[in-house]
């Protein structure tokens, strides 16, 4: 297959073609006009080969160049005109070139041989090209086995032509007749298959109509000119009667084909417009659906929508009436000024309820104009809703001036485009949202980064106090904060806080809160006063919606005293002697109210620590952790777990709690930050019994231990 189409094969075909022509020429030159059956057959065989090679060359050429059917038909017209001229003037030309044609035919010389061979070649080329074009048009129909149908027909042409030469006796003429009849039947059968014209536009069809009648007539005229006993048939017959017959048969086929083509095109003409419209609609839709995925700019899309709507609905103008935050605006005007479209918009909004329109409607304005005072230049409108998330966001309007109606096709086309516009807008929205989401995620990354830097990266270490802290950030940064402050003379200050709100703003407040506690803890001795100071700062800096819940405490390791104050934060839990106590001194959240009122309402709680006291600080991320039934982890459950784990070390206990919380909320995403700080106190007597060392082993923090000795 590949060989056939390669350049090599073309060259081979051309070489073989040339050899066959030279052979024919030589045979004719040497033998002259002979009645010998051998030479007759030899000539026929050579002619068949010449035709075959020419056909193959043409097929190769044809398959490599994609051609429009119409231009092929046009070529055929030109070729026929040339053939017509050649046939008509062959008498004149040959007689002027050669003195005595009749004599020449019977007694050919060198010049005559050259001329006659050229003449035959012209007609072989002629029928070869005609066959190729008709074959191409026939294959365009895309029917099964098209090539076989066509080749069968050509085979019968050849058989009919050959039989006319070799079965000359009267008794055998039925053979030729039979082949001829079958050939004609096949011609008619094949000529009916011309569905390819359906895909032509109206203009092209009119063009084809003219062309086909001309070509059909030319074929018929050529057929008439050649069938007589003129110089044409004399020359061809001198080679072989078959070639003459074959040319005639092909001409007949051409005449029938174009005759049928003419009438079929004629009958297709009335529907051509509807077909054109459908074709345009389909191609517009294709174009538009491609556009939807590529163009995400709403204005560009709007322009395209009205542009295509205008074309497909054959309207005089098109535009979009868009509702933008309770205001109606006009978009993407096509063939209409803003003044006219806005006038018309007013009339539309008077006639229909914008939100209620749910399918394409036509509105006649011819009677409306006088009533309203506002005159529209249009008489008929088609109005289609453009929806987004179930709501009418805009109207796609196509308008016609007087005397024109919308066909059902046009209306459905407009409706289709309004639907497409809806999809496009939805797409644009989704894109916007995803960009926004990405921005938010970037923001959250920043917030997480801030939070990570703010929180302590390790706990201080004391020989008689185990400290364990766990922080689990939520996807959306929650604003949890905790910190430790190593104060003078074996005193440990600690704070736990939760900024209201989430995200980057919460993270910034957190940073501010850290700064406040860092500095206040250095200068102020009592937890209550630190919180009062923090409140007066935050009340001035935070906006009225934002506040911070916090608890601040100091553990005096020397005197074994815990002093704690609370500002709106979750209670502090103290587990002692098989009992869990809530330490919940009064106190309002930071940043909510003025210093005076805050000061009035804040209390301080002080307790003498005992050995094995466990102090638990937490944020509501733990107690408000939710399971798949949206149930809270809850205070009670939390207390129970603490109670069960009261004999564990601080680190073990916090592990246990985190494990329980994670298990509980495994099917529900963590909504808030989780912060848990546990202190476990061991009295001085137990200082050297390994608790401290065990703690150090757990953390592996030698550095901190050495630094604690300074205090």
């Amino acid at each position: 297959m590949k060989l056939l189409f390669s350049d090599n094969s073309v060259n081979t075909h051309f070489r073989l073609f040339t050899i066959a022509v030279i052979l024919l020429f030589t045979v004719r030159l040497i033998v002259g006009r002979s009645d010998s059956i051998f030479f007759e057959i030899l000539q026929v065989v050579l002619l068949v080969f010449i035709s075959l090679f020419l056909l193959l060359m043409l097929i190769n050429y044809q398959s490599r160049n994609t051609t429009v059917p119409l231009s092929l038909v046009m070529n055929l017209g030109i070729l026929n005109a040339v053939a017509f001229l050649v046939i008509t003037f062959s008498d004149v030309i040959t007689s002027s070139l050669l003195d005595n044609v009749n004599q020449m035919v019977s007694d050919p010389g060198l010049v005559y041989n050259i001329v006659s061979i050229l003449y035959v070649l012209i007609f072989i080329a002629y029928f070869a090209y005609v066959l190729i074009v008709l074959r191409h048009l026939f294959i365009l129909n895309q029917i099964k086995n098209a090539k076989i149908y066509f080749n069968t027909m050509v085979a019968f042409f050849i058989l009919a032509a050959l039989s006319s030469q070799f079965f000359t006796s009267k008794s055998l003429s039925f053979v030729e007749d039979t082949f001829l009849i079958v050939s004609v039947l096949l011609m008619v059968f094949n000529s009916v298959r011309i569905s390819w014209i359906a895909f032509l536009s109206k203009k092209e069809k009119i063009y084809l109509l003219v062309l086909s009648v001309v070509i059909s007539v030319l074929f018929a005229v050529n057929l008439g000119n050649t069938s007589g006993n003129g110089i044409h048939s004399q020359v061809l017959n001198s080679f072989s009667p078959s070639i003459d017959n074959f040319v005639t048969t092909v001409m007949l086929y051409g005449a029938i084909y174009f005759f049928v083509l003419f009438f079929t095109t004629l009958f297709h003409l009335p529907t051509a417009e509807a077909y054109d419209r459908k074709a345009q609609e389909v191609s517009s839709l294709q174009y538009f659906s491609k556009l939807i995925t590529e163009v995400l700019d709403f204005d560009d899309l709007a322009q395209t929508v009205t542009d295509i709507t205008l074309k497909v609905s054959h309207s005089n103008a098109a535009w979009i009436l868009w509702k933008d935050a309770d205001q109606f605006i006009t978009l993407a005007n096509k063939n209409v000024g803003f003044v006219d479209s806005e006038k018309t918009n007013k009339i539309i909004l008077n006639k229909i309820k914008f939100e209620k329109i749910n399918s394409t409607k036509t509105i006649s304005l011819s009677d409306e104009s006088s009533k309203d005072g506002e005159q529209s230049i249009f008489e008929l409108l088609s109005v289609s809703p453009i929806r987004s998330q179930g709501l009418v966001k805009g109207l796609l309007i196509a308008a016609k001036t007087s005397g024109k109606l919308f066909t059902n096709d046009e209306l459905s086309a407009v409706e289709t485009f309004s639907d497409y516009a809806s999809v496009a807008i939805e797409n644009a929205k989704l894109l916007e949202e995803s960009i926004e989401k990405e921005r938010l995620e970037k923001e959250l990354d920043v917030a997480r980064e801030i939070q990570k830097k703010i929180l302590p990266d390790k706990e201080p270490s004391y020989s008689n106090l185990q400290i364990s802290s766990v922080f689990i950030p939520a996807f959306e940064v929650g604003g949890d904060y905790y910190d430790f402050f190593e104060l003078e003379s074996e005193k440990l200050g600690f704070v736990i806080a939760d900024v209201s709100g989430k995200g980057i703003s919460a993270a910034f407040v957190m940073a501010e809160v850290k700064g406040i506690f860092e500095s206040l803890s250095k200068t102020i001795k009592r937890p209550k006063d630190i919180l009062i100071g923090a409140n007066s700062i935050l009340k001035n800096t935070l906006d009225s919606k934002t506040f911070v819940s916090a608890a601040y405490g100091i553990i005096d390791l020397e005197n074994e005293i815990l002093c704690i104050s609370r500002a709106g934060h979750c209670p502090v839990l103290l587990i002692r002697n098989e009992e869990t106590k809530q330490i919940k001194p009064s106190g309002i959240g930071l940043g909510l109210i003025d210093t005076d009122y805050f000061e009035e309402n804040i209390e301080e709680f002080e307790v003498q620590l005992k050995s094995n006291d466990t102090i638990v600080l937490y944020t509501d991320g733990i107690t408000e952790a939710k399971n798949d039934k949206l149930e809270d982890f809850g205070d009670e459950y939390f207390k129970n777990i603490l109670f069960d784990g009261r004999h564990l070390t601080a680190a073990q206990l916090s592990n246990k709690i985190i494990k329980e919380v994670t298990l509980f909320s495994k099917s529900y995403s963590q909504y808030d930050d989780i912060t848990l700080v546990i202190f476990k106190f061991g009295s001085r007597q137990q200082k050297k019994d390994g608790l401290g060392k065990q703690k150090n082993k757990l953390d592996g923090e030698k550095e901190w231990q050495s630094s604690t000795h300074q205090f």
Partner: protein, 115 residues
């Protein structure tokens, strides 16, 4: 989860806002709009009914703080009613009972204004 809506009912010179669903950072703007609207209409006597509120986050609590000053300046108030125990605990932790009057029933809260 983020289901939240409100309805406003006028009872004489008192406006009652009924809350329903989950009030958090994402749904808070709905309630903020309610307050802005009431203040815009010079209705400063407001009762918020928590009967159908399932959950309130810290950001939800912030909404009440944002408007209380302006309302009290205009000798009005926000009173809260019908809180579930869970919601009350959240308010209580933050010390809100010190800042707002909280009543068991809506009528009780409304009557406090009319008296």
């Amino acid at each position: 989860m983020a289901e939240f809506n409100t309805s406003i009912l006028d009872k004489g010179n008192v406006s009652v806002i009924n809350l329903k669903g989950y009030l958090d950072a994402h749904t808070a703007p709905t309630l903020e709009n309610n307050f802005t609207q009431l203040i815009g209409n010079n209705r400063f006597n407001i009762v918020v009914n928590f009967n159908e509120l399932a959950y309130i986050s810290s950001a939800g609590l912030g909404v009440f703080m944002a408007y209380i000053e302006k309302i009290r300046e205009n000798s009005g108030d926000i009173k809260l009613s019908n809180m579930s125990e869970k919601v009350y605990n959240i308010f209580d932790l933050l010390g809100f009972p010190l800042l707002y009057e909280i009543y068991k029933t809506e009528d009780e809260a409304v009557n406090k204004f009319t008296r």
